[in-house]
Amino acid sequence: MFDRRLFRPGGPVPQREREWPSFRGAINEAMREEMRRDPAVFQMGEDIAGASPFGVTARLVTEFGTERVRDTPCSEVAVVGAAVGAAMGGMRPIVEFQFGDFLSVAIDQLTHQAAMLRYLTGGQVKVPIVIRLPCGGGQGAGSQHSQSLYSWFAHAPGIKVALPATSMDAKGLMKSAIRDDNPVLFFEHKALYRTRWPAPAEFRDPNHVIPFGRAAVRRIGDDLTVVATLTMVHHALAAAEALAKEGVSVEVIDPRTLVPLDTETIIQSVRKTGRLLAVDEAYLTCGIQGEVIALVTEHAFQALKVAPRRLGNPGVPVPFAPPLEDAVLPDQERITSAIRDMVSA
């Protein structure tokens, strides 16, 4: 079985993975390249210069100094506000939160100020900010350090939401995020930080970006479409691999950005397979899984052979103890089981 603990830190890097870029290293490289390219790009966050918590900003201060890699106090409201004002003043700030859950503290500055000021001023200002948000469960980090809260923010007009699942996407999407003239939330699943993924040659190209709003079809299949994000992409791929041996052909789609969402690729896939399973660590109620299902149901109802299904946190805080955490978060086993039910229905 594919275990979410495989993502947990520790242990040597396997020989075959040594040449692959790490997920956190990819984000670091994207930021470094963009800071070299554009002097308006700068960073703010707690301990990002001193001792960056997950190592994502490692060594940036050595190259760019403390003016552009600024340690902040524990003041989420003032720091997000500082990003908004600096962006209106022509800068391109990147803000790191040590845990994405903490963005709840600064929700007004994000959803009312960053996201609305362009609209409210009739287009007079732009607010190009990137907020980096470590997210997700599986590390025993506890309920207020383990959530996947992008549904909250995808709900608010004026905010783009990126969800990278591989090193290549982490780098390419981060570069797009920094170059975007709108507020972007960049969710980084903590379990992915130390993972390494094979990347094509263009990974090294500083001009290569991955545009927002274009889903990746991670695996092609005919019987069922799984839409999954972040680590759930990898759980779904493992499930698809196992089910192939049973003769079930699963297509796995990774939207990569929730806002904008590549509805076309998802709908086309479901027109082909007739079955849809949406998987995410997000809470199910008003979650992104329901949004994907609603879009498909509105646009391709006639193509559906069985009722769409969704997997996610059913609506309890992500628990602290690993056995409890496993009880509420989706995984390969639950995905496999749901797919079996749906194709045999």
Partner: protein, 316 residues
Amino acid sequence: MNVAMHLGLLRTMLLIRRLETAWADAYFQEEIGGIPPALSTGQEAVSAGACAALEPGDYVFTTHRGQAPQVARGLDPKRIMAELYCRRTGYNKGKSYHVTDVTRGVIGMGGIVAGQVPVAGGMALAQKLGRSDRVSMAFFGDGASNEGAVHETANLAAMWTLPLILLCENNGYCVTQPVAVAVKAVSIADRAAGYGLPAAVVDGNDPLVVYDAVAAAVARARAGGGATLIEAKTVRLGGHLAHDPQSYRSKEELAAAWEQCPIKRMRERLLAEGLLTAEGYARMEAAVEGEVAAAVEFARQSPFPEPREAFDDLWA
């Protein structure tokens, strides 16, 4: 003594008062609807004095009571009024009560109390990072002074030596709550010591006193000396919003507050000093009335936005 400046301050205050009176009239006559006007009646000296100390390239971030700094920074009364009439010729194309003109450094905010203060800190950070000597000024009220956003921003401004002026307009009331109920410090400015910032409490009904305090703070910020908190003590004569009868205040209290009317005080002072004649004041009033009447007429004649424009300007 700069006679032109003194007369200019009086004229600015008069224009604020008359423009807002016309706005309130439009509301009471049901020519416009929606949220009632938030009037700066009694507080005109704060914006007039403070904005006179600024230069092009400096920014102000306004509160919900934002028309005073808009006028004081020289925005076109026609386009202010058009915005308040929800017309597409308004500065924000009918998208907000909080008038913004980036070209004149006025960012209209205030839908969320104190939300503008952290953003002003960010603009000050951009000004510092850009190696300019420009400054940002955040208006906020006595009510907002109890918000975490103000405390965090004051602390961050001290830590980063930001070219920021935190201008608290203490008008005595947070909607119906007297300031002293929720502020247990000697003054709001007294809290500045806790952030390591210099501060001043000034008579907010005297534009010259406000000007002097803000000019000193601006000079310090331009020279790299960082942020200052200024508390301008003023009076709120028009209620929280225009429809507020202020039944929670005594007649005596309101009458005493009207005695502090900054326009009355400045006019009487300039008359006494011989810098203004009764005829000169009448001419100033007539000119202001003409400007306001033209603004109202422009707003009335302007079209509403097209429904499809609701979908414009969300994304850059």
